[in-house]
Amino acid sequence: MIIQGQNVMKTVGKDLVSLRIEIISISLIISSLAIVLSNWKKVPVSSHQAIVSSLVGSGFAFGVSVDVGILLKIVESWIVSPIGAFFLSILVYRILERGLARVPPLRAERYIRYLLLLSGSVIAYNTGANELATALGPVVYFGLLTPLQAAFMGAILLWAGAFMLSGRVVETIGKGITALDPFSGFAAQFGAGLSVLFFTTLGMPVSTTYCVIGSILGVGMLKSTRTAKSPFLRKIFLSWVITPFVALTLGYIFARLLF
């Protein structure tokens, strides 16, 4: 968040909507409720979609200026980033396949352990640079917290969330879409990580969740189209489409009703 989160924080916290404290409160409450509920229901929901959409919804309700051009760019990146992750994971898989074919199996196992650690680190870095920056961008740009305070607080709460509530989504992502071996797991995670990193550099708040799903699908499809479990995908796709509309509408209604 400190090294590369500024771009995303600026997009969400400054460029998208003219902020008011009420808008930030509504947006963060709606998005946190959506995420807790979705984790409970074992459906991965993008915090970016919930935050950005509820910010825009309550922004419309308050009649403040909303930059539609930026909003369209963000929506575009929501569509492009999982597709990018899909192809990147395939590319990573192919490269790795060739590389590992040249080493004995047990050495390959050791390399995969290091590579999984690397891809996990990229995803963790992205979580700070993009996820946290999206959630805390409005708070920082409204002057409630300094970037350093936000980063520190975000890191602690991120750990607590992962510790207490992530298990159910881990189960959905790790087993629900397609069976993942360590090799495919790395390709999927790294492909998603690269895609998010690219959009983070552009300052776009994209969802790691959907990039990971796109890349798992990519690796799954590479093996066989039949390996992907379509009921799960349908559920995930619906959540991807519905979340922004629901969050936008709720943001608008809450802002109208409460203030």
């Binding site: 396949e97 074919a101 004995p104 047990l106 390959a108 050791r110 650690l117 071996d181 360590p182």
Partner: protein, 212 residues
Amino acid sequence: MFKGIRKILVGGEKEKEILDLIREHIEKLSEAAETLKIAIENNDPSLNYEICELERIGDVIRREIALRLYEGAFLPAVRAEFYRFSELVDESIDLIEDTSVYFSMMAGINPEIRDLCVRIAELNCKMVDYLYHAFDSLEKELDLTDKTIKLRAKEQEIDGLKREIHSKMVKIDIKSFWEGYILSNFLDNLVNISDKIEDAADVIQILNVSLR
């Protein structure tokens, strides 16, 4: 925490211990197969005691492997395969022990089938040898196919000998139910050892494929 970081950067200690244990396990299998071969060749049922002792050591090694794997060696996705492998090696030693027990209960092997039984025992020893090399290759070589093919060829040879034994067995004069029962079980166990060894080789191949 520092231990964890050290494990990540240097790593491989637990893995090395497990690989050494598995090698030791296969060596015990090899000793047991060799002892059974000598027992049949020399018609010496007293070697049964040695085989039982090897079986006991094999059990200890298998439990040790399970514990070390549980402590976190290797990626979780391949731990089950390593344990399955050690289980199959252990089951092979168990079968050798059973064969040896039945052998010790027999008053020698009928000359009609004796040479065939010795040949099967020899082939079992060869297969264990191939198994050891196939496992060793997981660390050193790119392609294990030739090793597992050799192993399968030996298993097919044993299947052929099994049919030959069965055709000769029906002509053997059996004096009591228990004599027939013991002979039948002895032969069944003797030929099943190779199946277990082949299954263990399949696990090596699965490990190989799953890490590609």
